[in-house]
Subunit: 127 residues, 2 copies
Amino acid sequence: MVTKQLLKGLPEDADLRRADSLAREIFSDIANKWALLIIEALGERTLRFSELRAEVEGVSHKMLTQNLRMLERNGLVDREVHPTVPPRVEYTLTGPGQDLRAAVDVICGWTHQHLGHIENARTRFDT
Amino acid sequence: MVTKQLLKGLPEDADLRRADSLAREIFSDIANKWALLIIEALGERTLRFSELRAEVEGVSHKMLTQNLRMLERNGLVDREVHPTVPPRVEYTLTGPGQDLRAAVDVICGWTHQHLGHIENARTRFDT
DNA sequence: CGGTATCCAGTAGGATACTG
DNA sequence: CAGTATCCTACTGGATACCG
């Protein structure tokens, strides 16, 4: 449970509280637009930096590197540098990354499936 | 496909391009920390505003109202006002909201399942 | 109790330029 | 080509105060 605070102050809770705060931290990391879109893009295949930039519509150079570092740090993405010139850097989802990707896929599917419902809800709301 | 730009400029594409940009807009709306945590919290049961505030650890009054309006506008959440005094306002997931909640559940599960992997990846990365 | 408005500090994030 | 650093604006989001 990410949303719930663990019960107060018993000494034995120390480990659980740490795990919970770690979970919340990770959740905050990945629950953002660019991270999820990058994961989704990498689901199909390994991509180089420049390919990712083209694939993830609207992402800036800065946001892309920033999120890639974060995903790498959390073990969701592997970064492979080919020491050629010019350099060639490839990003691949790790196992856990692939798992998460499946969930993101569901969200993407959900979005397209409910476009109509949402559009209606919006016009109803905006009046 | 949320991440891909649709193919350029053929007149027949107008509808598809509209759908795609709408999808991206919706995705940006819901792919944020607070929205997902609120959906997750409401998955268990209908909650009043103040209960939500307690349930979603760390959310501010402002962020909560803001995200609730957004979720209501997109038809993910129903808002029911009981005209008592003091007022009582209850929030419930709609059908589509419940569907999305299932996906968010998967992400929450994923997070807890891979805590170890992630922690290791982090210490490896941070050296 | 729940919602809205105001203020403002912190930061996210774009543009740009430079390195290997 | 990919990464890092710098600058600078715009917006996010918290605190506070006030209405119904």
